[in-house]
Symmetry: C2
Subunit: 196 residues, 2 copies
């Protein structure tokens, strides 16, 4: 199972690719951050990013895409651009028959770090450990994209549907806490768990 | 000059096509309202609408597209879907080298009816008269799409750039009022002007 995580944005669009193995095993494949010039016209920016994503989908032929779900409430200044490039990603994915799963930032944090209010540094730390990377992926958009891909890989590993569209309103804490403990055990975490 | 106006939306996406003649002359070509089923997954909806728009662009080969500019502030419930399909429209347009112009609803109302706070019925009435239609285009999304196309045709007729991206923060009332008077004169309007 080859999963592409996409943290959408016009200025920085994180792309992370992992393969999902048995159980909760995930293997790093690729990470990059696409961008488009802030001063360029919007259609040109969307086309530049969209063309890169199209080539990526055609080259990688992923089994699924995990895309960050945005809400109109958050980051009003950038949310329109995020929604616009997300629309392009979904259009291109559907055109290729690649299922798209959407996760809120809190769901991703909850899965990868064990609790939904983790900060960016904690997400980066856990992604680095879970994938056994030599150095933390930077910028945060890169780590976020990998975290999305890991979240979806685990979702599929639990028998979740590939075209999962709707996030649970309040995901239970138990699976997240289990994920945390399993991740802890796997990566040999040294500091204490979330919130003590 | 062949202009496509697009009033973007997932449930109803208005499409209006006009040709721009000399001065302020505009001629009706086509109007339709695309839609996608509300219960379908978002990627499928975006792909269904995007595919129709792609075929339209390839078939009509317009000189320009006028797209409604949305803000995160307005209609929070539907604004994300509007932004997503707008992103797809811009991606497809840029891929074909077709310039996209964006107008706020107030700019369109101001141009077509003479004042920015006109209601939907007034926009429909003026579009019907300006294009000499036998019956008012319905639903409102159809009239709005034609109003967008007319607005852009007039903008180009005044020597405006085809890839106009940014709306003036507060468009002057004088050109709008002039547009109103000219439209009045042209269509032989019988009732009184805006706000008496």
């Amino acid at each position: 199972m080859r999963i592409i995580g996409i943290d959408p944005g016009l200025t920085r669009c994180g792309i992370g690719i992992v393969t999902a193995g048995a159980g909760r095993r995930v293997e790093f494949q690729h990470v990059e951050v696409l961008g488009s010039p802030a001063g360029a016209p919007l259609p040109a920016r969307l086309h530049q990013l969209g063309s890169s994503i199209r080539r990526l989908l055609d080259g990688e032929r992923p089994d699924g895409i995990a895309l960050e779900r945005v809400f109109a409430q958050q980051n009003v200044a950038s949310v329109m651009g995020v929604a616009q490039i997300s629309g392009v990603v979904m259009y291109l994915a559907e055109e290729r028959g690649i299922p798209v799963a959407m996760y809120t930032p809190n769901e991703v944090k909850s899965q990868v770090t064990g609790y939904g209010s983790a900060d960016k540094a904690q997400v980066t730390t856990m992604v680095t450990r879970l994938l056994g990377l030599a150095a933390p992926p930077k910028p945060a958009d890169a780590a976020d994209a990998l975290a999305l891909a890991i979240t979806h890989a685990w979702h599929l590993g639990r028998g979740g549907s590939a075209d999962r569209q709707r996030a649970a309103a309040a995901p239970g804490e138990t699976p997240a806490q289990r994920a945390w403990r399993e991740a802890e055990a796997k990566v040999g975490r040294r500091r204490s768990g979330p919130r003590g």
